[in-house]
């Protein structure tokens, strides 16, 4: 039963993730007085990329450079085994919150190692920024995990979903909202892939299929994080969970794309500073949770 559910969830994610991006592009176009591409456009882009051949730069370390996109892609897929997206699959035998976080860590790691292997200056600078951002966002995330663990007295999703309604849990979810925003590499936090100065940073040398995989990875990651925050809110045994979930996804993507359209890009140090301040807030939230509110 669970296996089927998980399979369905995976399929759902693989199909829907690019569509969500298309939807967000449409919304951003509306907010910028543009026609905007059709919602399917992201899918067409991906298909086109998957048709294209790939290239390998001379200075690159071939095996790492070629393998990295695949690992990145599959590691985020693995996270879908654990987080219930569409159907409430009970995953209490595969993994828990920690594992999800570390799988995303694996994704980031292989991503940057692939970029470093490409031997391009821009890629190195970009992935350097990526890791700096990852570390500082991990600090905030660690505090949130701690808070959630204190509130839910557990780390496995069976016990965590949904989070009991408390001041601390609300605050924790708000902070999680921020972390997810940062982690989903959008403006103003897409510093690693900043187009004007370092030309898509880590992605610079990737092309064709590799590029397609990495783009696909970003979309999947975003959907995963959406589902994570939604699972904390929607009760898992809720009969109308499915509807709530879909509506939640739409709302989240509207909010996020609006923010994305109307923020200027931060400099890396500004972004890290913001995350640091946020984690000080998170410390306070943790204290509140420990107090028991």
């Amino acid at each position: 039963m669970n296996i089927i559910f998980i399979a369905i969830n995976l399929a759902f994610a693989l199909i829907i993730a690019p569509l969500i991006d298309g939807f967000e592009r449409k919304i951003r176009a509306r907010l910028q007085n543009r026609q905007g591409p059709s919602i399917l456009q992201t899918w067409w882009d991906l298909i086109k990329l998957f048709k294209r051949p790939t290239i390998e730069p001379q200075d690159s370390v071939k095996p790492l450079y070629k393998l990295a996109p695949y690992i990145t892609f599959t590691s985020v897929l693995a996270a879908y085994l654990i987080i219930p997206t569409l159907l409430p699959a009970s995953t209490n035998f595969i993994g828990d919150l920690i594992l999800v976080v570390y799988l995303l860590g694996l994704a980031t790691l292989s991503f940057v190692i692939g970029a470093f292997s490409s031997g391009n200056a821009y890629a190195q600078i970009g992935s350097n920024r990526d890791v700096s951002l990852f570390m500082s966002e991990e600090l905030l995330l660690a505090f949130i995990i701690g808070t959630i663990a204190v509130i839910g007295k557990s780390l496995s999703f069976g016990q965590l979903f949904p989070l009991p309604f408390r001041i601390s849990s609300v605050l924790a979810l708000l902070l999680l909202f921020l972390v997810i925003y940062v982690a989903s590499t959008r403006l103003p936090f897409d510093i690693a892939e900043a187009e004007p100065e370092i030309i898509e940073g880590p992605l610079i040398e990737y092309s064709g299929k590799h590029l397609g995989l990495l783009k696909y990875f970003v979309f999947l990651k975003r959907l995963l994080l959406y589902s994570l925050i939604l699972d904390f809110i929607i009760p898992i045994q809720n009969p109308i969970r499915l509807i709530c979930y879909l509506i939640g996804i739409i709302i989240l993507s509207i909010v996020y794309s609006t923010l994305e359209a109307y923020y200027g890009r931060f400099r890396i140090d500004q972004a890290i500073r913001i995350l640091k301040r946020a984690s000080i807030v998170a410390l306070i939230v943790w204290m509140i949770a420990v107090v028991g509110w």
């Binding site: 200056a121 403006l187 004007p196 200027g264 890009r265 931060f266 400099r267």
Partner: protein, 536 residues
């Protein structure tokens, strides 16, 4: 005052009227003259070399100074004695590029030039072939020569190439940033990748009334002011009475062009700061101005309105009405957008205190336009050398003290509003009458100069009339030519993330700068700016 200086250096005054002074200075006095002029507050506008052998003089160098105090241009002529002229770069570093350009193009050599290396010609250009000499035909192509690249890696830093093909610069130019982590510890500019041979073309093939259309294509954004500058130069030489109405129409179009150029830049700035929606808003408004230009001239961008002695199209009443209506509407909208946008802290943080250019440095290099006004240099050709109808219109010149990107941003924003105000005035006071005066005859061998305030700064067009309806020499100088040397100074010590906005902050217009000569192949010798950087 100026005359005293010239006289004291026993210069021979060739021409002296209310706008221009031309003087022949003996080579031994050249430096002192230049120094005195610079001390007297004239900054170095540009320099042009001329092959005057057909006039029986030989090679000569013209240094053009802009004396804002007296509102006149001072042209110092120096004749090369067996191809040698003392260099004035040691005194005025602004003359560096001009002299090297002449060195490449005419083979005049400057004694004691700090870095006598190629600036414009590529490495694969043969030695001893000087394209701007009169015995070099305009459609001639010399064979390529082989050369080896001479450069060594810089240890301890990443050498980040920005350009020739880089999304942040929309034209092929080359900045080389030396980056440590995120900090830029040094920068080098290499330029002159695009060469269109306009000067040669104009001298060689075109008649005097065709050149305006060529001049308009010097720049892809602010072509019309080049057009005006050229036309004014000729009119100044031939003492042509341009009808009032024509002057007003020119003013309107010039300001229209300034608005669309600045709006374009502001949009690009937003884009470089990652604020796409701001970009969209700005360009949405800009579009209305493009339509206005189309309405008035029949073309969105290259207006093609000027002839010697006036303009080609009139502004009738309903055009006038439509114009003023649209202006009222857009003025409010511009205010709204920018007042709101400047409330967004993260944008301001990205511009405040970034890419600072001090007043002193600025003067030395001779930066012009918003770049100068952003760092507290009070210069504006429209006010200092009134042309077109600016004499009888009133406007204010925005000046900011900080010299950072933000102040340049604000200068441009205020200038947009000023320009709208100027257009409104010009429309009310638009005098009746004729728009084109075609009764004139052209003098021969008159040295003349025309200047306009382009959106990016001062355009200077230097010309010598030739026989018939041809020019003997025509040397345009785009503002970016003076502003570019400032960029590496601004870049030093900043974060890599800020590099694009800093480079863009002078509103660089590279192809305007590289108009000089027909060249095959892209490879261009590095023109290092170490002497500006005080050594990387």
């Amino acid at each position: 005052m100026i005359l005293e200086i010239l006289k004291s250096n026993n210069a021979k005054i060739l021409r002296h009227d209310e706008k221009v002074t031309v003087a022949l200075v003996p080579n031994d006095k050249l430096r002192t003259t230049a120094e005195l002029l610079f001390k007297a507050g004239c900054y170095y506008a540009t320099g042009a070399g001329v092959d005057e052998r057909l006039l029986g003089v030989g090679f000569s160098m013209y240094h053009i100074f802009n004396c804002e105090a007296e509102g006149r241009y001072i042209i110092i002529k120096a004749v090369a004695s067996n191809l040698k002229i003392p260099s004035i770069t040691p005194i005025i570093s602004g003359a560096n590029w001009a002299e090297r350009e002449v060195m490449d193009m005419l083979g005049i050599f400057f004694d004691e030039h700090p870095e006598p290396v190629r600036l414009i010609l590529p490495d694969d250009w043969p030695e001893g072939v000087y394209p701007l000499r009169k015995d070099f035909r305009y459609n001639e192509r010399p064979p390529r020569v082989e050369f080896e690249q001479k450069r060594e890696k810089k240890p301890g830093v990443i050498e980040v190439p920005v350009g020739p093909y880089h999304p942040a610069l929309h034209e092929p130019e080359m900045f080389e940033l030396y980056v440590k982590g995120e900090e830029i510890v040094g920068a080098v500019y290499r330029g002159f990748h695009i060469h269109r041979g306009m000067e040669k073309l104009a001298e060689g093939r075109m008649t005097i009334n065709q050149i305006p259309f060529l001049a308009e294509r010097i720049c892809g954004i602010c072509g019309y002011t080049h057009n005006c500058a050229y036309v004014q130069a000729i009119e100044d030489a031939a003492k042509i009475e341009v009808p009032e109405r024509a002057l007003y129409i020119r003013t309107i179009l010039l300001e229209l062009e300034r608005i669309h150029s600045h709006m374009l830049w502001l949009g690009v700035a937003f884009h470089l700061l990652g604020f796409e929606s701001g970009f969209m808003h700005t360009w949405r408004i800009r579009e209305t101005f493009m339509d206005l230009a189309e309405l008035l001239t029949g073309n969105r961008k290259t207006y093609g309105m000027n002839l010697i002695g006036g303009v080609r199209r009139n502004i009738d009443e309903n055009k006038k009405k439509g114009l003023s209506e649209i202006l009222d509407k857009t003025k409010k909208e511009i205010r709204e957008i920018f007042d709101n946008a400047t409330q967004m802290r993260e944008l301001i943080n990205r511009m405040e205190g970034i890419g600072v250019l001090s007043k002193k440095k600025g003067r030395e290099i001779g930066v012009v336009g918003p770049t100068a006004r952003g760092s507290d240099i009070d210069t504006d050709v429209r006010r200092d050398h009134p042309y077109a109808a600016y004499g009888d219109l009133e406007f204010k010149v925005p000046i900011y003290k900080d010299g950072d990107v933000l102040s340049r941003f604000l200068v441009r924003y205020e200038e947009v509003l000023e320009s709208i105000w100027l257009i409104e005035q010009a429309l009310d006071q638009l005098p009746p009458g004729d728009i084109l005066n075609e009764e004139y005859e052209l003098p021969e061998h008159t040295i003349c100069v025309g200047a306009t305030e382009a959106p990016r700064g001062e355009d200077v067009h230097f010309a010598i009339m030739g026989e018939g309806n041809k020019v003997y020499r025509w040397h345009p100088r785009a503002p970016t030519y003076n502003n570019l040397p400032a960029v590496p100074i601004m870049l030093k010590g900043e974060k890599l993330a800020d590099a694009p906005i800093i480079i863009a902050s002078i509103d660089p217009c590279f192809s305007c700068t590289d108009h000089i000569v027909i060249v095959d192949g892209e490879k261009v010798y590095r023109c290092s700016l170490d002497n500006y950087l005080g050594g990387l």
